[in-house]
Symmetry: C2
Subunit: 392 residues, 2 copies
Amino acid sequence: MKNPDKPSQRRKRRSAEIDGLILLDGVRGKEMSAREPEESPKRRRKTLSDVAQRAGVSPVTVSRALRRPEMVSADLRRRIETAIQELAYIPNQLASALASSRTGTIGVLVPSLTNGVFADYLRALHDAFLPGGFQLLLLNSRYLPEEEERGIATLLSQNPEAIILAGVDQTVRSRRLLEDSGVPVIQTMELADDPIDVNIGFSQIEAGKAATRHLLSLGHRRVGHIAARLDARARRRKEGYTHAMIEAGLDGQTMMATTTRASTVRLGAELFVEVLTKTPDLEAIFCCNDDLALGTLFECQRRGIRVPEDLSIIGFNDLEFCSSTFPTLTSVATPRHEMARRAAEIVLEIIRGSGERPATRRIDLGFTVNQRESTRLATGASRKASAFATLS
Amino acid sequence: MKNPDKPSQRRKRRSAEIDGLILLDGVRGKEMSAREPEESPKRRRKTLSDVAQRAGVSPVTVSRALRRPEMVSADLRRRIETAIQELAYIPNQLASALASSRTGTIGVLVPSLTNGVFADYLRALHDAFLPGGFQLLLLNSRYLPEEEERGIATLLSQNPEAIILAGVDQTVRSRRLLEDSGVPVIQTMELADDPIDVNIGFSQIEAGKAATRHLLSLGHRRVGHIAARLDARARRRKEGYTHAMIEAGLDGQTMMATTTRASTVRLGAELFVEVLTKTPDLEAIFCCNDDLALGTLFECQRRGIRVPEDLSIIGFNDLEFCSSTFPTLTSVATPRHEMARRAAEIVLEIIRGSGERPATRRIDLGFTVNQRESTRLATGASRKASAFATLS
DNA sequence: TGATTAGATGAAAGCGCTGTCAACGTGGAC
DNA sequence: GTCCACGTTGACAGCGCTTTCATCTAATCA
């Protein structure tokens, strides 16, 4: 090349290229020309040093004024503050994180963004971590273990201060990645026999059993079950259903409809119809989640099946709408907010504390069967047990 | 202190502290002792150099093998690949980003995580950006302009390659921050008179008008409106309603119920009752979103109000459940997926291209009124216009 | 066959920030 | 008046990676 750059020139040119390519092109205008005598006319994002120079102090002092203001005299602090304002300085969190090994981010991996449960859970996480100054780095695994694996690697590469996972069925590789990383990991939504690190959740099997038993306890015998998506959690709930049915001397196999398709309200109607076709005299149905339950409810209305007179319906998750449907929907309430709250609490403890894990690495938050209008005693049946069961 | 550390020792001690505090404590175990003769016994995350050393090449080569494999000979590539596997090396994305000024993240700011619309929109964004190797950095502004402002600063400090905003009502400070940053900004969900950068959306006012006109065109006169949250978008839809009513020579003011509370299904019922109390002979209602519409529908069922015979209901957003309710819900479909798709497309174009913005900085994606069973011709009314309107 | 070139690799210099330690001044204790 | 401790501030050396430029080798051409 004909251009034997000196470092300073090299920088300039490189900056120009980047300007063109990515960011800093021709947007800010004023404020550059007058000040900073030896500055190149090229725009670049303001740095700590720019602020320092303007305030007449060293960069370290500016850094301290930002991170630990109490270490800087009031006078300098004021001058620095002014300089920051004038330059509209925004710290480069990347550089800060690299230098300090603290990123202030929490990696979150959820299987779905649209599912009401996860939306709710996410918001709870967001709200729980925000006050601590943490941000969420969110990844969606779309219910695919491979995507979860990739997601974990991606999250780890961003040096999150903790990783929060939904579910406990990570691949072996995922596990190894996480264990090797040493980053605090919280598995939520379920209970693991062998947690990677900390585990906060509830038993999906027990919850499935409880939902089914609720219907059985009302005197129903022909109790069906529908499930969509069939991820690990849905499967466990189904297991709970099967178990409870067998326990009651019943065979649920013929009153079930499942699919791996994503759960929607429409699908609830479809699956319900499928069960109904096989078992026209169905008395009750346990829907794997509230969306399916909603679809079932509407399909009943469409067909003139009275709920709960002709059919009892129980959903799962107790989303907001359950208490407003007509009739209101009985549902198993899962501790989404509590999981998020506890997760945040524990993560902060680990980070702020000595890195030690809580005494109990596996926290069972239980669940609650919220009985409402959509389930009721079978006609002529004797009540067998409390219909309002709380387990934990 | 009694410990006059040398750099190497300093490093060691510091690492130990960090270990205790945050990450690398006592988790990985094996594989350190045998190899890397001069390595300290302390665990630390593997770096590029570790891989390079093991593969017997220089760090640069490893970097290239990772970023631009075609520049490295097949032989070395294989050796490096092996070393990476053996060390379970995970690149430090932070350092990479700092050095290259490319973070591969897209900052996304939404007002709500639980609202079905945004959940949907988020997933669409996620799906749209993932193939390009981008990740979303997600922040929730909770419908508060100040939080949005803080969120923007936070996002910018992470050097995202683009920022995607919902809505066009940023504060002056937010605007300035964004403009100064030079980062591509996409405002979505609405149309702006004066976009910050690129704007992809549809007219909320027009959509509100269209929904109202749909009801009017069916011959209804006593057309109510309910709205929750009352963020800028909801207000514009309300404006559209008012406008359309006036246009038809009607006064909507007495047939409206609004609140700033967050939108829920339950609230839909409440607001509907409020309108109904004021206007018992209500013929039709335009609900600001589908959740409210769902609540209204259930409340009708509860009160024995037949839909659409006694009351026509139109929702907004056309969430999945609209086509499965009983009766199915007429709703205004908004181009959430298309917005996300186009946003991703344009961002990639800007980043990959020369940084130039598309020719049109303001893209109107329109909306569609999807008529279903919940709205129908008023009894005895003459049809005034096509009930199936499409605007753009 | 020597000059030329393309391709592959490495050395060095940062990216913007923070941790560490040294240096400096000040006031109080003696 | 001297010494020490303390509270502030600054110099320096990285954090782990990429960019640039130089170097080296092997292949290509006249």
